[in-house]
Amino acid sequence: MAKVAGDDAVKAETASILAGYPADRSELINILWELQDRFHHIPKAAIPLAAQKMGISQVDVMETITFYHFFTTAHTGEYTVYLNNSITSRMAGFQKIRDAFEKEAGCSFGETDKDGRIGLFETSCIGMCDQEPSALINGMPFGSLTPFSVERLVKGMREGKSVLELMGVGQDLSSDPHKLARFIAPPNIRRKGPVLLGVGYNMGESIRSALKHKPGEIIDLIKNSNLRGMGGAGFPTALKWQFCASAKGDEKYIVCNADEGEPGTFKDRVLLTEWPARVFEGMAAAAYAVGARQGYLYLRAEYRYLTPHLQRTLDELRKENLLGNSILGKSGFDFDISIRLGAGAYVCGEESALLESLEGKRGEPRNRPPFPVVVGFRGKPTVVNNVETFSLVAQIIKYGGTWFNTLGTAKSVGTKILSVSGDCGRPGVYEVEWGRKVEDLLKMFDAGNAKALQIGGPSGKTISARETARKVCFEDLATGGSMIVFGQERSMPDVAQNFIDFFAEESCGACVPCRAGNPILSDLLKTIREGRGLPEHIDQMVEWANMIKASSRCGLGQSSPNSILTSIEKFKDEYMDRIKKERGALIYDFDIKAAMKESCEVTGRTPSSH
């Protein structure tokens, strides 16, 4: 058995961890991370102490713990492996890797080996879709896994190697956080565009340009650029800032949403690896425009390994007085940024859920209105934009709105970074002007064998590769940037199953349609895929999917059935192929043998006797 700390030792260590934090619930997730890292789970004995420190009940602390995927109350092993089970991983050989891990570690997924050294678990997309199959081991991503590399990794764990040693990181790399981050997850930039990926960047240029203007002029500048939020919904950025600037409040906040959880996206990983300072400058510009003094980068737990790199970037910015008090000598312009971690919850990418999480609570989306620009973090007006949007802000301020406006289409100006994965020759990130045709994109990705394309991840749309004339832009195919290519040999019902299971797992559970509805859809799809379905089951799926869309409380539920609906619409044949019975059959398919199996085992009888 692993050395499990006794209650007294847990209490002593917890007390010393807690002593380093203020009695502020918004620190709870950071505290829980320290506990999880230290004990490989959150010990029961630590909970009353954390509750006491925060002035809340134990059940309230547990509310936060149980919500997040990476917080556990059971020991997860000294080496905790989280293997990505999203569709891109499955297409790249997930099952082989899963089997290899189980064979080498000698335990099943969902548990630890007998000496508590290695724990095997599954997780959803970790932002390494261009390098699948991938897994997080103690928070560090390992891409392009093979059964052979798994064998080597498990051997290394048994030898007690550090995670960096497992990765093969030498001294030269570990001293340079940027190089290290690049080594851990190579950026894979496939196409440099004119705004973000192909342009030189010098630290401070954006803030210097910004300070030549009055705050209101910054908002006008962004308004003239017609910039829209890059998260997928495309809300005009200037409008958001305008609302926040005019909202009443003694304090205002800028929050950068670095919780790109949509399976298939990893562009923010690249932007944060290559140009983190540019993101922070964008945040500073927003702070200047709306009058905020504090910013937070809400970093998804899967990107925790970037923290040292991001921290060092923040230190550099502070050293150059690009953050801190009286930035670049402008009196009254004080702004600093802290990094706050998520802990594994897709729904926290929704801005109001993100704010809840930032406050140390479970990430349940808020009811809106009021919107975060009026009632945000700690009830104060808050601007939430994502990594790509803030990066664009920095560029627009430097080069001007008009320049940006000339790119793209009428309603989608500028460029978009696409995260491309799946069955294509060139997975990676691409910066393209909005409005590119599907035909061009497929060529660009080297996806000649494509049957279908998932635009915008599981919450987006499935389209057929034959829809070559369609365009990626808000007018036609809006996207947050996830593009997954499916080759001819892929089964679309299987893909849809992976997507709906993802939503069933990630639903916050607050509202009935999403919480109860997605598992129902998942079960029904499974029935069809297993050949037990009736033709009317397909109609039922469509009907129920539309109900979930129409009645769910937040964007997660409202978009969760999108992929099933569009998949059925475009590839109905593949669903019908799985169905053997006529419409209106009176006796349904039922595997009575399977239903008798368990009791026959217990009683020692054979099902054939009846």
């Binding site: 039922f590 009791s599 009846h610």
Partner: protein, 180 residues
Amino acid sequence: MRKKIVATTSLAGCFGCHMSILDIDLRLVDLIELVEFNRSPITDIKKISKRCDIGLIEGGICNDENYHVLKEFRENCEVLVSVGECAIMGGLPALRNNIPIRECFEEAYRNVPTSKSGGGIIPNDDELPIILDRVYPCHELVKIDYFLPGCPPRADLIWETLLALVTSGAELPYELVKYD
């Protein structure tokens, strides 16, 4: 008018729903004027002997025999009605649905206070129906046309429904439709 032919059965139920059928009291006499009973505990006919118009199913599906009977009813009845909570959702027998079957057997036959300590055996005679992994609602295995909830369904509800099925449609009053 030809008499409608009715078949009834109790699967994983307690016969309470059949008691409720008898509970229509004197109206039974009227009913006999309108329908002819085929397979039913009431007639003691063990097999459906001709095509029936209406089949009433009490109880869910907890073993293989239940399933075969349900199929026999579906194949031979024009209209099939789930009568009572057990037929509709498994009812009390379905309380075991989230307990592993081994635990159920152990509890029922070995650990139960009335069994000899450690001595009881789990019945395994080939004559016995084989228990299924869980109790299934009837409409998840075959098409069910109508549902009469209640534990048991109120006698008046059964009467109104039979009347409606035999003659023409009728609106069921609120007080009759209850789940307990």
